[in-house]
Subunit: 218 residues, 2 copies
DNA sequence: TGACATAGTGTCGAATGAACACTAATTTAG
DNA sequence: CTAAATTAGTGTTCATTCGACACTATGTCA
């Protein structure tokens, strides 16, 4: 019985939530898109395997990574019995795909326009996006999708892209403010119209947040 | 590489949250307590394996079962590389352990008085109890720990046992009432002092609840 | 039949969520 | 250089919900 990892990697580009897929170069499902992933090696644990595959297939290194669910139907892979431990990963908008080894075939797809996926990867993907939506509300994972410095409008865009609804600007800002998890910087982002103040996420009081129940009741 | 399942089974007895452990009869960790579990067979999926092991080791059949997390450190089992898919299960207070095969060695332990556990089962257990506490707040899993008919006081006891704090009776009842998930029966439970009305959980409107955010804000 | 034990019920103040519109600062086009 | 366009930023009100709090009701049992 083999054990593999498959990874659903999300990012936000131009206000759209996207996931990364790789095109399969060999059978089974040759030519179809699939989640990046691969077998767990003898001496690495599951998280290590997921990070390694992520690097190998996409060149992406610095990510938020979290185990999602394990899929183990006996017939989920025509090659034999393979149990897959699925992960979901978040990368910030500014990070690029390295042009590495297999990376030529890696592409970002808007989550609303996913192609047909190999194996049971469609099921894994659905599970991942549901988890992302839930986690967004009661944790601070949302910040993982932004660069270190960001504007409040950018932050709101992350929430809107994932939850697929528009939010009230004033309510959003009030809620973020009262959580006291942002450090206002003395820098502004120019380039648009009125310059926007930049902020930085400070995880200092992160532990206390756990007891607060729902953090982002949007 | 082998794949196993390990199951953290919770129940409530006399207002105390308990988990089921089995004493190991063979090495490694002979004589120590461990979570019930075992290897996944060639032609069964993970959920089936968990249910089968549960039945074999404890005689318990009708349970709420949910996959928890997968543990895969290379050295978590001295016998070799074994990835364990952990489950957590809830059984209602009225269900008894069958006196079956290995069941002689299965025992309920209050979660606050767990013995030392074999392998990395202490870690799995901690993970399970944290998940149970979280799920209690935004789902209706709590009802799985009660028989079909129950009183409101019994329900409150479940919440108090798991959250380890006392709740206000009136606030608790108000909240339950407004969720409209209980059907009042024309039966009363006698035997104490004033008879208590019995209720039944109706999952009818369960889907709608998902959008309500936190269900039980205690 | 009276003491005891558990079931059951309502109010009020505080905090939070949801709806809603204008002013401020800058860029760019004429 | 000035006006128009664009995005940033800011408060209030109302409805709902949370959290604290104490007494009455109904049965059992001595």
């Amino acid at each position: 019985m083999k054990v593999a990892v498959d990874i659903v990697i999300f990012t936000i580009q131009a206000g759209v939530l996207k996931a990364l897929l790789v095109k399969r170069l060999i059978p089974p499902f040759e030519g179809q898109f699939a989640l990046p992933g691969g077998f767990v090696l003898k001496d690495e644990d599951l998280d290590q395997a997921a990070l390694r595959e992520l690097r190998e297939e996409t060149g992406i290194g610095d990510v938020y990574l979290e185990q999602l669910y394990s899929f183990g139907s006996p017939d989920r892979d025509p090659r034999g019995r393979i149990v897959s431990v699925a992960y979901f990963a978040l990368v910030s908008a500014d990070r690029q795909l390295h042009a590495g080894s297999d990376a030529a075939e890696a592409q970002w797809f808007p989550v609303s326009k996913m192609p047909q996926l190999a194996f049971d990867h469609a099921e894994i993907f659905e599970y991942a996006i549901e988890r992302l939506r839930n986690k967004l509300e009661y944790t601070t994972v949302g910040f993982q999708l932004l660069p270190e410095k960001f504007t409040l409008t950018e932050l709101q865009t992350v929430y809107e892209a994932i939850l697929e609804k528009t939010l009230d600007k004033r309510n959003f800002r009030r809620k973020i403010a009262q959580l006291k998890i942002l450090k206002p910087l003395r820098e502004f982002q120019h380039g648009g119209q009125r310059p926007a103040q930049l902020f930085k996420f400070v995880a200092t009081k992160f532990e206390k947040l756990k007891d607060k129940g729902i953090l982002f009741p949007f």
